[in-house]
Amino acid sequence: MGNDRLEEVKDRIQRIGNLPTLPKVATEVISMVGDPDVSMKEIASVISKDPSLSAKILKVANSAFYGLSQRVASIQLALVILGLSRIKNLVIGISVFSTFPIKPGQPTFDREKFWEHSAGCGQIAKILADLLKCEMDGEEFVAGLLHDIGKIVLDQFFHDQFVKVIDLTFEKDIPMIEAEEEVVGTTHAEIGSWLAEEWKLPLSLVEAITHHHSPQEAVLNPILTSIVRLSDLFCKAKGIGFSGDTKGIAISDRIAWKTLKSAKPDLEDLDVERFVFDLDAEIEKAKDFIRISSERVQTKEKV
């Protein structure tokens, strides 16, 4: 296994001295939500201290992304209507965009496309979870959004090697993860997993990031990991993302499909053709999410 190499990778990133971190509010909110002694009001006031984040939360809450029937005008109200977990997941989702801002037009690794794929994956995860009646409070969206986060780290800290990875993927026509093993000695899943731990993300999220290529290994929340894996495959089927891979995917042979089906037999009745066909509209919603999250908000505005 690439464990030694993973340590080297970690060393190198730490030596450079700037491991990407989540904004402080996000870290605070994550730990507060887990703490039974913290009141909703306190959480609202922490979030409100960051006007840009607050404005974005309200924008997303009022967009087609949630499709709420009621206008949400304050963070307090958002917390009441959407609930603590949802808001926590929303905060994580929005925050990654300030950690890894979009840099359009990179020739080898296009971040705009990267986020399009990631948010698309999150959105598909959300619909799948709804369809199968798995209430996950938006964790499935964030899991989809963050599943490939290790790739950004590779791109940022090991750019030359990552370029080689991408070349090799095309040249040998192999999955990216195999090319990563070969060139870097560790994978975006392992790096993402480490980053998620450092960020103290909820453990089920860490697991989904770690095992999105090996859903059979998930123990904490195999349903979440399988949903993320399937969403990733559906994204590929929609051609969303930067991968030029044209291979066919036999969806019903996939471990993620089987795992999910044994937990949620309804999956069998999913009209995959229709589902895939209807995804276009959903992908648009995901783009809304990216647009709002990466906006530069006028911070003077009172929220």
Binding site: L233, F234, K236, A237, K238, G239, T246, K247, G248, I249, A250, I251, S252, D253, D271, V272, E273, R274, V276, F277
Partner: protein, 279 residues
């Protein structure tokens, strides 16, 4: 215009007759369509009511002939060259290479079937794609493309191979200049491509005829099933399954689904294209 009206009762009788004979189903909301299209035909054969026309279709000695004229009138033949690029990409880049790889281990032919081929744009498109592949890869055999349609008028058009530019709206320039002769407003398909396709009139519900289609590697039956009622769809898909070799593929229209029709095939997801595989 004449004032031939189609009563609800006659509409249902004719609709059912068409369904039995062709699998095409006209819902009540499509009555106007039958009325419009068949009125013209009634004038041609100089009949003054749909009652008489129904009799002609059902009992006269010329009924077979008249039925095929009717099919010419009522079928929806909308099509184009290079329709639905993502499906064609999956065909060219994955499906055919995979089948060829398998064939290296035996098997001498490559058989493609375009079922419901309209005026030939679909099978000719497949022929052009295969021709290109033949130029880059060594083929040990000439691919056979069988194409058929219930409408004799369409098959005649297909064999003529002369098209208005409208039908080439999705055709890449490369193919336009390599495989067509441009003449006025029309494009004529090259003989090399014509030779690769065998056309025939065939009703996909005619079990006897369809039963002769065997050992097929890839079936294209796009935008045909949409006009079929549930039962006819099921029957046809079963027939396709039988006709395919193990490992063969079936393409249906981009917006169609086999979900409620058959679970026999394995569903394969390609970028923006879903293809069915017989295992």
């Amino acid at each position: 215009m004449s004032s031939l009206t189609l009563s609800d009762e006659k509409f249902k009788q004719i609709r059912d007759l068409i369904y039995e004979e062709s699998g095409m189903y006209f819902a009540n909301t499509k009555k106007y369509l039958l009325e419009n299209r068949l009125s013209k035909r009634l004038e041609e054969v100089q009949l003054s009511s749909f009652d008489e026309y129904y009799y002609l279709l059902k009992y006269s000695a010329k009924r077979k002939e008249e039925l095929s004229r009717l099919f010419d009138q009522v079928t929806i033949n909308e099509t184009s060259f290079f329709r639905d690029m993502p499906q064609l990409q999956a065909f060219e880049k994955e499906v055919i290479p995979e089948i060829l790889k398998r064939k290296d281990r035996g098997g001498q032919e490559l058989r493609i079937w375009s079922a419901g081929c309209s005026s030939g744009q679909e099978p000719y498109t497949l022929a052009m794609i295969l021709k290109e592949l033949m130029e880059t890869k060594a083929f040990k055999f000439v691919p056979e493309i069988m194409a058929n349609d219930i409408s004799g008028a369409m098959i005649l058009e297909a064999e003529r191979g002369v098209y208005m530019d409208y039908y080439l709206r999705n055709t890449p320039d490369y193919y336009k200049s390599k495989y067509f002769t441009h003449k006025g407003e029309t494009y004529i398909i090259s003989d090399a491509i014509k030779l690769m396709v065998k056309f025939s009139i065939m009703n996909l519900l005619d079990e006897e005829k369809v039963g002769t289609m065997k050992n097929i590697d890839v079936i294209f039956c796009r935008n045909v099933l949409i006009y079929f009622a549930e039962e006819a769809k099921k029957k046809l898909i079963e027939t396709f399954y039988e006709a395919l070799k193990p490992g063969g593929y079936l393409f249906i229209g981009h917006s169609e689904s086999l979900h409620s029709i058959s679970r026999a095939f394995k569903l394969m997801l390609f970028p923006n294209a879903i293809v069915y595989k017989k295992e």
